[in-house]
């Protein structure tokens, strides 16, 4: 990091300065190290076939427990997460030395580590999901850590959007799975395999869970976010994007294999998508020039391999998957740190200008070479065992074995080329003149080479002692994935010449030849197709995001115009269209009949008066006409109340009507003459909508009346009603009085109304002082 920052730190305190120089990494790595040792101490128990479970009741009503399980699968993952985590914490101390916000970086890193451990240990679907989301969020914070750069932020967001959306799909899938299996406990799912597959929910569960897993593990067609996430600091890439987080999807598939696996849909989907990802990643890796991007694409390829192996399934597939998982974590974690060292020391990650670093960085070179040999699959490294097992299982695949094997061989050839590009080219002299790098390289501090060295050594040790070290844990891991005990025999070198051994030899030979002679051609091909295969996905995704945003802007502007009348228009339009559709499709319109009782003259007259009043209100160009119109309507209705024998209502309506008219006149007197009827065109449009609304109302009313037994009320009844009305009226009054709450409410309404008038009119007729006016104008300017 920048030299000036270090000196600045030096001036503060010795302890601080030491922490800033990377000492903090040593201290902090104690935590994951001790956890690693703790979990390692469980190895004998687990490898003997025991499964440990812990469960705390969390939400009993939903069957959600805080449940954890330690078996071969979860222990393998925990050891990878914590072990590599220890080295990464240490490494980050050196790599990020001088970064003033390193405390925050470690906070995110430990948050992520905790989430990841919780995820792999979870034995409850909801617990698993909670940790799953935590890894998404913490990884988002880590990817975007160098947030000063635009690329950092945008790729952090891209990763978060894709994994976030995948997470939601996963949640839906897990909830469905819980419903189908009638349990939330993951370790019980295996015994309900039949129930789940036959529940009718299997297809949606499968699709949703696969979306979740594929987005997290960067499977085709979501593979593009992973190279983008390389904007993160290198320790993050080494940790999240090789060894841990991206493997969460693979872990999920492995964990759910007993519940969801063993169906053609599962096998075909995983094998096909895994194989496509594997080939695509490897193909794109060899055309890159940035070290980290090469590694990112090879990671994509490896993840594809893992998914494909789960798809192929069976004992061979699962054992191969377990071994390759460990192989990949070891060498890829190492190579990312190597890339970080090169970047850190030279200031460049461009393989086309890096060369001859072997002399300056011998330890880094040694680690890189070992890791690359494992990646290339050469004996006696663990990678060789992995590759043998992969070929063994592809040859054994239940469908399209030939095609899958061919793709695997081609991908592995390309992986050898990529391994050479990462670990050979930057270190060995290339013959051509050496390009100058931004910084003069030398071996980085011990905290930065220890990690790669340890991982590379482990690749070798695990390979040499494959039976002693690997076999027990792989056996238990495979048993957990398959849901039944298996007997696994691992061996470093084949005892006889088998088909897959020949394939291995062929792969290595072709790989070396390709590295030496075909690299320019591969580079050319990759560049030619980059637009479609590499940028195409990114652009497609960006376009999707941009178009969604543009659509959001457009629809918001279109609907939320701020014009009240348009709001009403849209609302009424929607109601009318939906209601008419319902009416026309459902109702029996022939049931409508006209009236058969003649209207009495005085009632007709009242109705006509009311309608005339309405017309006045609607057409009025002068204030008084409008008020007069409204008054007419009100008083007309008062008259009808009278016909219905409700003199109390007549009184109330009469007084309120009078009051309203007076109020209106008072207010209108202060306001200008309104000639503002809307324009002809818009009036036509509004008229049509309102007319339709009217037609609808009428039809509904007629429909309602149709068939109803309406008792014609005789004039006698009308007369009697007056007598009765009085009696009723007493009850009415009493009821109103005794339904105290009504009255209370009524008084409250009126009270609030008067409060409102008081507040809005009386108090505010004169603004308090000049300050209020000034604020008002500033307020307006802000708009």
């Amino acid at each position: 990091m920048a030299q000036s920052e270090i000196t600045q730190a030096d001036s503060q305190s010795p302890l601080m300065a030491w922490a800033m120089r990377g000492g903090i990494g040593w201290v902090l790595s104690i935590l994951p190290l001790s956890l690693t040792l703790y979990f390692a101490s469980l190895l004998p128990t687990i490898t003997s076939g025991t499964v440990l479970r812990v469960s705390y009741t969390w939400i009993p009503s939903l069957g959600v427990d805080f449940a954890f399980i330690v078996d071969g699968l979860s222990l393998t993952f925990v050891l990878l997460v914590l072990g590599i985590g220890t080295l990464v914490v240490l490494y980050a101390g050196g790599y990020m030395a001088g970064d003033r916000q390193i405390g925050r970086f470690y906070l995110y890193l430990f948050l992520f580590m905790g989430a990841m451990v919780g995820l792999v240990l979870a034995d409850n679907l909801i617990t698993l999901f909670v940790f799953w989301e935590l890894t998404s969020i913490s990884s988002y914070l880590l990817i975007g850590y160098k947030h000063a750069y635009y690329s950092s932020r945008s790729s952090a967001l891209q990763a978060l959007l894709i994994t976030g959306a995948g997470g939601l799909a996963l949640l839906a899938g897990l909830v469905l799975l819980g419903i189908a299996a009638e349990t939330q406990t993951i370790s019980e799912l295996g015994s309900r395999h039949e129930l789940i597959v036959n529940s009718g929910l299997y297809a949606p569960i499968l699709i949703l869970v696969l979306i979740g897993a594929f987005t997290k593990s960067a499977q085709f067609p979501f593979q593009f976010w992973l190279p983008g996430a390389m904007a993160a600091p290198t320790p993050v890439s080494a940790y999240l994007h090789s060894a841990t987080m991206v493997k969460a999807g693979v872990f999920l598939l492995a964990r759910l294999n007993p519940a969801l696996g063993d169906t053609p849909a599962w096998q075909i989907t995983l094998t096909v998508f895994g194989a496509i990802t594997m080939a695509l990643g490897a193909y794109l890796a060899v055309s890159q020039t940035d070290l980290k991007r090469i590694l990112a694409f090879t990671t994509v390829s490896s993840l594809g391999t893992l998914v494909m192996l789960i798809g192929i399934g069976g004992e061979h597939g699962i054992v191969a998957m377990m071994v390759f998982l460990i192989v990949h974590s070891l060498y890829k974690g190492c190579l990312f740190m190597v890339a970080g060292n090169i970047d850190h020391e030279t200031g460049s990650r461009d393989v086309s200008i890096l060369s001859g670093l072997r002399r300056e960085m011998p330890i880094t070179f040694g680690a890189a070479a070992l890791a690359a040999l494992s990646m290339a699959g050469l004996p006696p490294l663990l990678g060789f065992v992995g590759k043998e097992l992969i070929y063994e299982s592809t040859l054994d695949a239940r469908f399209a074995a030939a095609a899958v094997t061919t793709v695997a061989v081609a991908s592995n050839i390309l992986m050898i080329v990529a391994a050479g590009m990462v670990a050979v080219r930057p270190f060995l002299p290339t013959g051509t003149t050496r390009h100058s790098t931004p910084r003069h390289p030398h071996e980085p501090p011990i905290s930065m080479w220890l990690g790669p060295a340890v991982l590379a050594t482990l690749s070798a040790v695990f390979g040499l002692f494959v039976v002693q070290v690997m076999q027990p844990i792989v056996t238990q891991g495979a048993a957990a994935i398959l849901g039944e005990a298996v007997e696994v025999k691992l061996k470093l070198l084949p005892t006889s010449i088998t088909g897959y051994f020949l394939l291995s030899v062929l792969t290595i030979a072709l790989g070396i030849v390709s590295y030496l002679y075909a690299r320019p051609a591969l580079m050319q091909a990759g560049k030619a197709t980059r637009g479609a295969l590499e940028d195409g996905f990114v652009n497609g995704f960006t376009d999707l995001v941009n178009n969604t945003q543009a659509f959001a802007r457009w629809i918001t502007r279109a609907l939320q115009s701020g014009y009240l009348r348009r709001y009403v228009l849209i609302t009424i339009g929607a109601v009318v269209s939906v209601a008419s559709a319902a009416l026309l499709t459902r109702a029996d319109l022939s049931a409508i009949r006209l009236f058969d009782t003649p209207l009495f003259l005085w009632e007709t007259a009242t109705i006509l008066v009311i309608l005339a009043g309405v017309a006045l209100v609607l057409r009025a160009r002068s204030r008084l006409t409008a008020i007069a119109g409204l008054g007419t309507v009100g008083f007309g209705i008062t008259l009808i109340f009278f016909f219905f024998g409700a003199p109390d209502l007549v009184m109330t309506q009469f007084s309120v009507e009078t009051l309203s008219v007076l109020l209106f006149i008072l207010i209108l007197y202060r306001l200008p003459i309104f000639t503002t009827i809307s324009h002809r065109y818009s009036r036509l449009r509004d008229g049509i909508v309102a007319g339709l609304a009217g037609l609808l109302m009428t039809m509904i009313t007629l429909l309602t009346i149709a068939g109803e037994e309406l008792k014609p009320l005789t004039p006698f009844y009308a007369e009697a009603s007056y007598v009765e009305a009085r009696g009723r009226n007493v009850v009415n009054v009493i009821l109103v009085d005794f339904r105290g709450i009504d009255t209370m409410g009524e008084i409250t309404v009126l009270g609030i109304a008067s409060l409102g008038i008081y507040l809005l009119l009386t108090l505010r007729l004169a603004p308090a002082d000049g300050q209020a006016e000034a604020e008002d104008s500033t307020g307006k300017e802000q708009l």
Binding site: A156, L157, Y567, V575
Partner: protein
Amino acid sequence: MPPEIVIPAIDVRVIAPMLTIFAWATVLLMVDLFMPGKDRKLTGYLALAGLAVTALVTLAVQPAPGTSRTSFSNMVVLDSFGTTLTLILLLIAAFSIAISINYLSYHNIEMGEYYPLILFATGGMILLGQSTNLILVFLGVELLSITLYVLTAFFYPRYTSEEAGLKYLLLGAFAAGFLIYGIALIYGGAGTLDLFEIGAFLNTSLAVGSAFPPGALLVLIGGALVLIGFCFKISLVPFHMWTPDVYEGSPTPVAAFMSVGTKGAAFAALLRILIVALLPFKIYWLPVLGVLATLTMLFGNIAALMQPNMKRMLAYSSVGHAGYITIGIMTAGTHGTESFLFYLLAYALANMGAFAVLITLERRGEMAWSVDDFAGLWKRYPLLAIAMATFMLSLAGVPPTAGFFGKFFVFAAAWEDGQIFLVFMGVLSSAIAAFFYLRVIMRMFMDEPVREVIPIFNRGLTITIGIAVVGTIVFGLLPTPLVSLVQNSVIALGVGG
């Protein structure tokens, strides 16, 4: 002969919470009138005390589990659902007042009437949650609406506040027209305004023959109009149009109060109407609500997507949340009310908190609530940024926050009800929503500050934000106590018992 008058027995306990809050508000209004000086903080504290007293009264009169009490000729009911809702509403009101006390004086709009108005509106909401008669439903709606019209326009002399008030009032009155006309038609069809009796009427009249009886048809159409009226209040698309404008224009604490309180109370009343009175019509209202919920979730979240104004963004987000709550009440007929109440509380905590954070950043005399003001907040005020991030995560429904379980309950209940499409749309719209909530987090944690903004803290804001953060996280980690509370909050489906 004088007519025989039977005075119904009145059980005062049923209306005790309302009675307390209305009485307190009325007295407070008087007290405020005689209070010397311009400082009105004391009125605010007294209002808070009133809410506390009301809460105590509510707890004192709460019915035994599984029972309910009715009073005033079955017009009001006190069941455990009503009690829980009342307590949530009181909490919301307390938050609103707590964040208002210094806000009003800071923005020179300090008038003592503000607090009694909030109390009156809260009383209206409580009434709405307890009424089993359409008369009282209408009264409750109007009580809270008219109060809120005034509160919306409280930011004098800011013009936008007046515009918001007028828009709210015109559309609110328009909606009231639908509501009351719908009630009229229901009354015409069923001959009663009592929810239980309407339910009984529908059961008998629909059971009679194969043909659709006219009375029931009238109730159906009336029910549709009532639903439209409520859709305005709870701002379901396409009846939501006023929401962003009104929230933006009104004083921020009022917007916070409206976004949670009005919604909660109106949803509760709608819930009662739907499952007490209109349950026989479930085949009709279920698909309608489904369509509305879908539109609401999609549009609310899409519109929030590119909103540069935080206040409007929260408004659109509240529209989106109305969609999720709708799913919650759709399942109430079969799954009780738990998902609705849980969601409401989770949403209330996060939303009140988010508005409170917005208030800390609100400048005197300014109308901008730009997302830019949140940029780089993490560097300068890490605790505030963490609080806001918690609220955004909860609103987005990310674990381990209360919002996650809110969504979880709603979706799980909907799924078990067979509403697969709705769950799908809910998850899809949550994905859209996550984008803009996380964008705020990203601005806070990753960007450099755009301009110098110094947050204003005071006791009310700090306590509100603190409680909201703690509640959001605690209920996210340990939802069990809350789950059992809402599971025991049963709605009264019959009279008495």
